[in-house]
């Protein structure tokens, strides 16, 4: 086995990190449909905004009170009164609207959001999701995540398949306090596209560079291999 010089190794790691995210983001973008109202979580899900297929109109909702979230502003056009839920400066589009937080969550709770995409620390085979708290360590809060997962018509989790230490994040049962009970519809990782079904987790697509056995080894929960298993396309 050859060892790369440390710097080169780090560079390769960084490149792989980017590639993993791109792969997940592009796969999820294929679920978008014309006319969808979509809420993107903070971090990796935000990247989906730049992968909306050409000719398709998708309206992005930001839970701090905005429909029709535009791209980051041009330098010099940043407006402190115009931010997304990640507190990043954004821009308006033709057709953008603003409303209060109560109105924003009325549209979420009322089931008007077609798709909610968010990150997770853990997901389990019942579709439970944990992403808001590590007892005794991290006190940040759930923000709008509990409301979104409880009421969006479809919830897709975008996350890396394992932790940085290589431990599974897709578990038989979440060990961290959960954000929502039986709320996840699909899990997208760099290794696989997994649907949550009443029978358990169904492996529907796998990435071109892994085998079913490798995916299962990186997953604590049992995976039911779909009869129609295909290669994950991004």
């Amino acid at each position: 086995m050859t060892t790369l010089p440390k710097a080169a190794g780090q560079k390769a790691d960084k490149q792989w990190e980017t590639e993993k995210r791109e792969r997940i983001v592009k796969r999820i973008a294929r679920e978008l449909r014309d006319g969808y109202y979509v809420n993107l979580g903070i971090g990796m899900p935000t990247m989906i905004a730049s992968h909306v297929p050409p000719g398709m109109e998708v309206v992005l909702q930001s839970e701090n009170g905005m429909l029709g979230v535009g791209p980051y502003p041009l330098e010099g056009e940043e407006d402190p009164d115009l931010i997304n839920a990640g507190k990043e400066t954004v821009s308006e589009l033709a057709g953008t609207s603003f409303f209060s937080s109560a109105d924003s969550f009325a549209m979420i709770r009322g089931g008007h959001i077609n798709l909610s995409i968010l990150g997770a620390m853990e997901v389990d085979e019942e579709g439970n999701l944990a992403n808001w708290m590590i007892p005794g360590k991290m006190v940040k809060g759930m923000g709008g995540a509990m409301d979104l997962v409880a009421s969006a018509r479809r919830v897709i989790v975008a996350m890396e398949h394992t932790t940085r230490e290589g431990q599974p994040k897709i578990l038989k049962k979440c060990s961290l306090p959960i954000t929502g009970l039986k709320v996840v519809d699909t899990i997208a990782t760099e290794m696989a596209w997994i649907r949550v079904s009443p029978e358990g987790l169904v492996l529907e697509e796998i990435a071109p560079d892994v085998t079913v056995e490798e995916v299962q080894r990186a997953t604590q929960a049992h995976l039911i291999v779909s009869g129609a298993l295909t290669q994950m396309r991004s």
Binding site: N64, E92, A102, K140, M142, S151, L181
Partner: protein, 231 residues
């Protein structure tokens, strides 16, 4: 009816220690900067605050936290504030985390005379502990209580001396509901106008909810995450 007060210090001069105070804003967007600074200058303590966030270290409500003014807080996300996290882990501050939509609706309900309502957010989670549940059409919901406060400190873009308010872009957030839910609502605005200037069709918060209004002396309007794209 003239609700104008001259300064932020005058506007908060009767807020006693131990009050329950709602503060508008999402992150640092749409926060009552001048009123927060006036409260810090007043040097009261034991406050029970209700606000989606807690500012950042050194700015906004972060200053109230650093001044040791806050005994308890209800909010949905406090991840930008290391000091708060430390205080909570040490048991020095009683923090109640509430799902953001539930928080918004609890404040709206409080202002609308609704003592409780059912929400699906948080069913089966820590948030559900100790709460009554009810099943409607095969689905479980949590009974959530309306929230009210002694004072609400809010920020609008434009307001008139009758207390009618207009907000700007995403700086609206929690401000309109908080205006309705406090015994005394104090609004600071960037632009104060005479009644009649604001088109009645454009009023978001009608003056009945606002007891005091002032023109903010200065606005930093700090940006938390400045992001730009290349042309």
């Amino acid at each position: 009816m003239n609700k104008l007060v001259a300064t932020a210090d005058e506007a908060v001069s009767d807020i006693p220690s131990g009050s329950t105070v709602m503060l508008g804003g999402f992150g640092l967007c749409g926060i009552p900067e001048n009123l927060i600074d006036a409260l810090v200058r007043r040097g009261i303590g034991g406050l029970h605050t209700i606000s989606n966030n807690m500012g950042v270290d050194g700015f906004g409500m972060g200053r109230m936290l650093e001044a040791g003014m806050i005994a308890s807080h209800i909010g949905s996300y406090v991840g930008e504030n290391k000091l708060l996290e430390e205080k909570v882990i040490r048991g020095e501050l009683n923090l109640t985390l509430v799902p953001q939509g539930t928080l918004a609706e609890r404040i709206r309900a409080g202002g609308a005379g609704i003592p409780g309502f059912y929400s699906p957010a948080g069913v089966g989670t820590l948030v559900a502990e100790g709460k009554e549940t009810h099943e409607f059409d095969g689905r479980l919901y949590l009974l959530e209580r309306g929230l009210t406060a002694d004072f609400a400190l809010i920020k609008a873009w434009r307001g008139d001396t009758a207390g009618n308010l207009v907000y700007r872009k995403t700086a609206r957030n929690f401000n309109p509901m908080m205006a309705t839910a406090a015994r005394v609502t104090i609004a600071e605005v960037e632009e104060l106008v005479e009644p009649g200037v604001i088109d009645p069709d454009h009023v978001i918060t009608p003056g009945i909810y606002v007891q005091r209004i002032l023109q903010g002396a200065r606005y930093e309007k700090r940006i938390e995450r400045r992001m730009v794209r290349s042309a």
